[in-house]
Symmetry: C2
Subunit: 145 residues, 2 copies
């Protein structure tokens, strides 16, 4: 349902070629909602009768990741997944029940990172914050805690 345009724009801006395969992957990603795996996209493609190479999907995912329009998540169970995302936002809350994903803004993390640098003496170049739980709908559906 989403639009693949931001993904394609990112490619264009980066000087990468707008190939048919990449358009396809961008569309598949845009049509996804929660986190997905490379295998999911492959399956989606086949489901639509589109023929695309496995390696190509991985390569496209890599490209999009580097452009920060897709992020690679590590789920608590150890699985890897990707999510399409706004290049400015880098953190997500993932619903462990339905897979829904919501981007979160900096929310004060920047300050925390600074505090940690001060406290540990490390220079922090990058960080990764992932939150897992229940989205509002799923939380409501299972009253107890």
């Amino acid at each position: 349902m989403g639009s693949p345009a931001p993904l394609l724009d990112a490619l264009d801006t980066a000087g990468l070629r707008l190939t048919e395969a990449r358009r396809t992957v961008a569309t598949l990603i845009a049509d996804r909602d929660g986190p997905f795996t490379a295998a999911d996209l492959l399956a989606d493609a086949r489901g639509r009768g589109i023929d695309i190479g496995r390696a190509t999907v991985f390569r496209a995912l890599d490209a999009f990741s580097e452009l920060h329009v897709v992020e690679r998540l590590d789920l608590p169970n150890g699985d890897h997944a990707y999510v399409g995302c706004d290049p400015a936002h880098h953190h997500h809350v993932v619903c462990e029940n339905c897979g829904r994903t919501t981007e979160i803004d900096d929310a004060g993390i920047r300050d925390i990172v600074r505090a940690i640098e001060r406290r540990t003496g490390y220079r922090v170049d990058s960080h990764r914050l992932e939150l897992f739980g229940r989205c509002p709908a799923c939380a409501a559906a299972e009253p107890v805690s």
Copy 2:
């Protein structure tokens, strides 16, 4: 150099058996400093002339992870690694140069998580924060940024 005792205690407390293999893995972990992979431990073992099965190492690592005395990290390059850690602490700063690891306390993350819950409506059950950069020594060794 570290002591395997906390690891073994955790097993004991959890009612898991204190086997020779698990003692070995605990010792190998205690003797490690930065993050390590399962393959590292295997190599360490062989280097000491200890014979232990690959699967056993993975199983021990799983057990320790579940007991929160070892944490599984996902490095920025996509690799997986483990680190021994205090069960109360769940975040690390990792030096991307020398591999050194430092545990960090809650540092206000709890508040941020709460703020995010309020803002998104999600109920957050768990989170993962990983920071990457340079430890003091490595940062000093490479003046530029």
